[in-house]
C-alpha cells in the first residue's frame, strides 16, 4: 500500500570535505555519492554499481573507508569526508599515487580513486602490509582491467617507501 508521493523539503547538511567546511541543502536520503558529484562537483568519486559491491564510490568518512553510494547524506552530517581530490595536495603526488603510476596500477582509471582510497586506508592501519593483507584490504574494490597484481605491487611499494602520505 503506497502513499501518494509527497515531496519532502530539503534539510541543511554540514560536513567537511577535504578539510573544507561545506554547508548545503539536500534531501536527507540523497546519496552522499550524488551530493559529492552533483552538488559539490567533486567528480573524482565514481559510481560503478550503486550496490556497494565495486568500491568505485569509496571515500573516507571520519577516517573509515565507506561506500558513498550506500550513505544517505543526512548520516554524513558533521562528518569529515576525504575524497580522491583531497589526497594529492600541492601538486606533490602522494607516494601512493606515484606508486600506482610507477607500477601500472591504473589502466582505465575508473576504479582508481576508490582503489587509492582503500589502499590509503589500509596503509594508515598497516604501514607495511603483507600481500595477504593487501589482498584482503582491497577485496571490496573491483578492477576489471589489471587483474590486481600491479595494484598490489603499487601498494606494497608505497608501504616500502615508508609513508602513504
Amino acid at each position: 500500500m503506497r502513499e501518494s508521493p509527497q515531496v519532502r523539503t530539503k534539510c541543511e547538511i554540514s560536513f567537511t570535505v577535504n578539510g573544507k567546511l561545506v554547508t548545503l541543502r539536500a534531501h536527507a536520503m540523497e546519496r552522499l555519492l550524488d551530493v559529492l558529484r552533483h552538488e559539490l562537483r567533486l567528480t573524482g568519486t565514481k559510481e560503478g554499481c550503486g550496490e556497494g559491491e565495486c568500491g568505485s564510490c569509496a571515500v573516507l568518512m571520519d577516517g573509515m573507508l565507506v561506500n558513498s553510494c550506500l550513505i544517505p547524506v543526512l548520516q554524513a552530517n558533521g562528518a569529515s569526508i576525504v575524497t580522491i581530490e583531497g589526497l594529492a595536495s600541492n601538486d606533490q603526488l602522494r607516494v601512493l599515487q606515484q606508486a600506482f603510476l610507477d607500477c601500472g596500477g591504473a589502466q582505465c582509471g575508473i576504479c582508481t580513486p576508490g582503489m587509492i582510497l582503500a589502499a590509503f586506508h589500509l596503509l594508515s592501519k598497516k604501514p607495511q602490509p603483507t600481500s595477504e593483507e593487501i589482498r584482503e584490504g582491497l577485496s571490496g574494490n573491483f578492477c576489471r582491467c589489471t587483474g590486481y597484481m600491479q595494484i598490489f605491487e603499487a601498494v606494497a611499494q608505497a608501504g616500502r617507501r615508508g609513508t602513504a602520505t
Binding site: 550496490e51 603510476l101 589502466q107 587483474g147 600491479q150
Partner: protein, 755 residues
C-alpha cells in the same frame, strides 16, 4: 640525440596523473548548461507485435521530451554491417530490453518513474532462446533461416582422412555468454545545433563507427556530425558497437528537445540491455594416426548471435579461423554459422570468437591425446605448426616460431612435470585434488584478411612551432595504453623526449579515421602508421634543409619553428597499404588471414576442494611470443588483466537467462573474480619481431583471453579424472558430475556384488 631508448621501456602512462588524482573526466563527470537527462523505455517481451503504448497516470508528461520511431529523421537503424537492428523498435520487438521509446527531463530523479509508467501491450509471438531451437527452424525469427552468416573453410581432402585414421575422436564443447563488466557504465551526451550539427561525447572505442551510424540515423552529412571520446572507464569490446545505439538515443532526444541530453545507464540496465560475448557450441571430429599425428578433421562452430546481426559475421569469422589453433591440419573442413535467438544481440568482447573456438580446441586436444595414449604435452608437440607449414586457411607460417621450445619454457617455468607427479601422489589421500593443465594457442592481430585494406586507416602527426609534436588518430585509450605507446613510437622515431610528444583526444572533427580500436591492431597497425608519419615529418624538415640526419631535440625545435614561420604547421599523414605478402580470398576464405600471429602456451595449476567442489587457481604461467614488447609494464598489465577475465569466463561468470533476459544483472549476482580469487599470474615474453608492426610489435590485447579457460579445465580433468567440456564450470556442476560418477560406480559395484 635523445636520452636513451623509449620504445621498450616503461615510461609513465600519458594520462596517468589525471587518473590517480581524480581529475580524469569520464562522460558522467561532464555537465552542459540546460542539460536534460534521458532514459529508455524497453520491451519486457522477447518477441511480439506492439499493440498499444499508454502513457500512464501520475506523471506530468508535458514536462518530458518523448521520442518515438516517428521522430527519427533518417533511417531507423543502427548502421553496422547490416541495417537490421532498429534504433527504436517499431511495431515488432525481437528481444527483452529492446528500446521502444526515449524520455528526457531536466530532473534525472523523475526518469525511473516515468519509464515505469509507460505501459506496452503486446501480441506475444513464440520466441526462441537457444542455438538448437534456432537451428530447428520451428520459428523463423530472422531472415530466411535464422542464420546471420555462415562460412566454409576447407583445406586438403577431408573425406580421405577417415579411412586412413587409426582413431576418430569426437567432442562437443560449449561456452556461455559473458558480460564485459567495464566498471564505467555506458553513457553519452548529445547536443544539436541546427547550424553546427550534432555533437556527441561519450564512453566509446570507435568514434567513426558512431559517426557513420549517426549520419544515417539523423540524416546528417559527414561534416555536421562530430563524435568526441571522453575518458573511457574500460571497454573490452563492450563499447565497440553498442555506443552507436546509446549515442543515437541521446542524439534523437537532443534533436527533438533542442537541448543537450545525457544518458547514463545504471549497472542493471547496462548488464541486461547491452552486448555480451557470443555463446558458442563447437563440435570436433578428428582423424588421428596411431603415432599421434592429426590427419584431418571436421569442425562445426556455431555462435548464438542474439536477435540482430550486428557484428556476428566478424566474430564468427575470427572464431572459425582460430578453431584449428597452432597445429598443422593437413586436411580440415570448418563449418561455421551464427544463428539468431530472441536475446539482446551479442557482441564484441576481447578475443572476439577466438576464446570460444580455442576453448573447444584445447579441450579437444587433451581428449585426443588421451584417446591415442599420449600425454597432452607430447601430442601437441607432434602437431605444432612449424615455419613453412600452412594454417587451416592455407597461410604459410613465415616467422621462426618454435612452439616446441615455447612449450618447454612454459613447462619449466610452471614446474609442470614435478607438480604432475606430486599431485598424482597427493591425490590418493585428502579432501582436495590438485591438477595441472596447459593450453597452446595463437591470436591473429589486426583485421582479418582484406579487412585492413578495407579500413584504409589514416593517421596524422603534426609538429608545432615550439617543437612539440601531436599525434592525430581515432584510436582510443581505455586503459590498454594507446596514448602511451603511440607517443613512445613517435618520440623514438623523431629522436625526441617522450614528454615532447602528445596525442589529440579522439574527436572526428580533428583526427582522421585510423580505424576502430579493436582486434589488437592499435600498436601493430596504427603504431606502424604513426611511425611512418613521424618519419615523414623528419623527411620534410630534412628535405627543406632545416634538419640534419641526426639532431638534438633543441635542433628539432628550431627546425619546427623555422618551418612554421616559412611554411606553416607541419602535418604528415600516412595511410595503410596492404603488404604484398598478405593475400586473402574472401570467397573461399583462404589465404593469409592475419599479418601476424602472437603465440602462447599457458599452464594452470588448480585445487578442487571436495568439501565445497570449488576450484581455486593456485598458480598461472603465461608465456607468449609477441613480436616486441614496447612497454613492459603495460604489456604485462594486459596479459594479467586478460588472464583474470578469462578465469572469470572459465569458473565464475555465468549469465542466468530466463526467456532471453539476464536475471542476474547486478554485481552482487554476476560473479566477477575479486582480488581474493585470483592467483599470482606469472607473465613471460618471447620476442621474435614482426616486419608488419611498429618496432616489431604484434597485437597482444586479446591473446590472454584465449588460453586460460581450456588450461584450467584441462587441469581440473587432471585433478578429478572427469572431463568437463562446458564453461562456466561452477562448483554445482562439479558436484553433480562427482555425484553421478559415484552413483554409477555404486551401480557397477552392486552389480558386481550381485554376481
Amino acid at each position: 640525440m635523445k636520452n636513451g631508448p623509449i620504445v621498450g621501456t616503461s615510461v609513465p602512462r600519458k594520462e596517468g596523473r589525471a587518473k590517480v588524482t581524480g581529475e580524469a573526466r569520464y562522460v558522467d563527470d561532464m555537465v552542459l548548461p540546460d542539460m536534460l537527462y534521458g532514459a529508455t523505455v524497453r520491451s519486457r517481451f522477447p518477441r511480439g507485435k506492439v499493440k498499444k503504448i499508454t502513457f500512464g497516470p501520475g506523471i506530468d508528461w508535458e514536462e518530458f521530451v518523448v521520442v518515438s520511431p516517428k521522430d527519427i529523421p533518417g533511417k531507423n537503424c543502427i548502421a553496422l554491417i547490416e541495417d537490421d537492428q532498429p534504433c527504436l523498435a517499431d511495431g515488432m520487438v525481437n528481444h527483452p530490453e529492446e528500446p521502444l521509446l526515449l524520455v528526457a527531463h531536466p530532473d534525472r530523479h523523475l526518469l525511473p518513474k516515468a519509464v515505469e509508467a509507460v505501459s506496452v501491450e503486446y501480441d506475444a509471438l513464440p520466441a526462441i532462446f537457444s542455438m538448437e531451437e534456432s537451428e530447428r527452424l520451428s520459428q523463423i525469427i530472422w531472415g530466411a533461416d535464422n542464420t546471420f552468416k555462415s562460412y566454409l573453410i576447407e583445406k586438403g581432402d577431408v573425406e580421405a582422412v577417415w579411412e586412413a585414421a587409426d582413431y576418430i575422436v569426437e567432442g562437443e564443447y560449449t561456452t556461455g555468454a559473458q558480460e564485459q563488466l567495464y566498471i564505467e557504465n555506458n553513457g553519452m551526451i548529445a547536443a544539436f545545433d541546427p547550424q553546427q550539427g550534432l555533437t556527441v561525447w561519450g564512453s566509446l572505442q570507435c568514434p567513426y563507427y558512431l559517426h557513420k551510424a549517426l549520419m544515417k540515423l539523423c540524416d546528417l552529412p559527414a561534416d555536421r556530425v562530430r563524435v568526441v571520446q571522453t575518458e573511457t572507464g574500460g571497454a573490452f569490446g563492450g563499447k565497440e558497437e553498442y555506443p552507436s545505439m546509446i549515442a543515437g538515443h541521446a542524439a534523437l532526444l537532443a534533436m527533438k528537445s533542442g537541448k543537450p541530453v545525457k544518458i547514463i545507464y545504471d549497472r542493471m540496465e547496462d548488464m541486461t540491455a547491452t552486448t555480451k560475448r557470443h555463446p558458442s557450441r563447437t563440435r570436433h571430429r578428428t582423424a588421428v594416426s596411431k603415432d599421434g599425428k592429426i590427419l584431418g578433421g571436421e569442425i562445426e562452430f556455431t555462435l548464438d548471435g542474439g536477435a540482430y546481426e550486428t557484428l556476428s559475421p566478424v566474430v564468427l569469422s575470427r572464431g572459425a579461423i582460430h578453431s584449428g589453433g597452432p597445429y598443422h591440419w593437413p586436411s580440415v573442413r570448418i563449418r561455421a554459422k551464427a544463428v539468431a535467438t530472441n536475446a539482446p544481440p551479442h557482441g564484441a568482447f576481447r578475443g572476439f570468437g577466438a576464446p570460444q573456438s580455442l576453448f573447444a580446441l584445447e579441450r579437444h586436444m587433451d581428449r585426443v591425446a588421451q584417446t591415442v595414449g599420449l600425454s597432452p604435452v607430447e601430442f601437441r608437440r607432434r602437431n605444432f605448426l612449424k615455419p613453412g607449414q600452412t594454417t587451416t586457411t592455407g597461410q604459410t607460417v613465415r616467422e621462426k616460431i618454435d612452439l616446441s621450445k615455447l612449450l618447454d619454457r612454459a613447462l619449466e617455468l610452471s614446474g609442470y612435470y614435478a607438480k604432475k607427479k606430486k599431485f598424482a601422489e597427493e591425490n590418493q589421500v585428502g579432501g582436495c585434488k590438485k591438477g595441472i593443465g596447459m593450453a597452446a594457442f595463437l591470436h591473429g592481430a589486426g583485421f582479418t584478411g582484406s579487412g585492413e585494406r578495407y579500413l584504409g586507416s589514416e593517421v596524422g602527426v603534426e609538429a608545432c612551432a615550439d617543437g612539440s609534436v601531436r599525434i592525430l588518430v581515432s584510436s582510443t585509450e581505455f586503459g590498454q595504453g594507446t596514448k602511451t605507446v603511440l607517443c613512445q613510437i613517435v618520440a623514438e622515431a623523431l629522436g625526441l623526449r617522450y614528454e615532447d610528444v602528445g596525442i589529440a583526444q579522439p574527436d572526428t572533427q580533428e583526427v582522421p579515421n585510423s580505424g576502430p580500436t579493436v582486434a589488437s591492431r592499435t600498436v601493430m597497425v596504427v603504431g606502424k602508421l604513426v611511425q611512418s608519419a613521424a618519419m615523414g615529418i623528419r623527411q620534410t624538415l630534412t628535405a627543406r634543409g632545416m634538419l640534419g640526419d641526426s639532431f638534438t631535440p633543441e635542433e628539432f625545435r628550431a627546425a619546427c619553428q623555422a618551418h612554421v614561420a616559412q611554411h606553416g604547421k607541419i602535418r604528415c599523414l600516412a595511410r595503410y597499404e596492404q603488404p604484398d605478402d598478405i593475400v586473402w580470398d574472401e570467397q573461399k576464405y583462404r589465404g593469409s588471414a592475419y599479418a601476424a600471429f602472437a603465440w602462447a602456451v599457458y599452464v594452470a595449476e588448480v585445487t578442487v576442494d571436495l568439501t565445497t567442489y570449488s576450484v581455486s587457481v593456485d598458480d598461472f604461467v603465461a608465456i607468449q611470443e609477441v613480436g616486441k614488447v614496447l612497454h613492459p609494464v603495460l604489456a604485462s598489465g594486459q596479459i594479467i588483466g586478460g588472464v583474470a577475465q578469462a578465469i572469470g569466463f572459465a569458473l565464475y561468470e555465468k549469465v542466468i537467462w530466463e526467456k532471453g533476459r539476464m536475471q542476474n544483472g547486478q554485481m552482487t549476482n554476476y560473479m566477477m573474480p575479486t582480488s581474493a580469487d585470483l592467483p599470482p599470474i606469472r607473465v613471460y615474453f618471447e620476442e621474435l619481431g614482426n616486419v608488419h608492426g611498429a618496432y616489431g610489435a604484434k597485437g597482444i590485447g586479446e591473446l590472454p583471453m584465449d588460453g586460460p579457460a581450456p588450461a584450467i579445465l584441462n587441469a581440473i580433468e587432471d585433478a578429478l579424472d572427469i572431463p568437463f567440456d562446458s564453461i562456466p564450470l561452477l562448483p554445482e556442476d562439479i558436484f553433480a558430475a562427482l555425484a553421478e560418477k559415484t552413483a554409477s560406480e555404486n551401480v557397477v559395484r552392486s552389480v558386481r556384488e550381485e554376481r
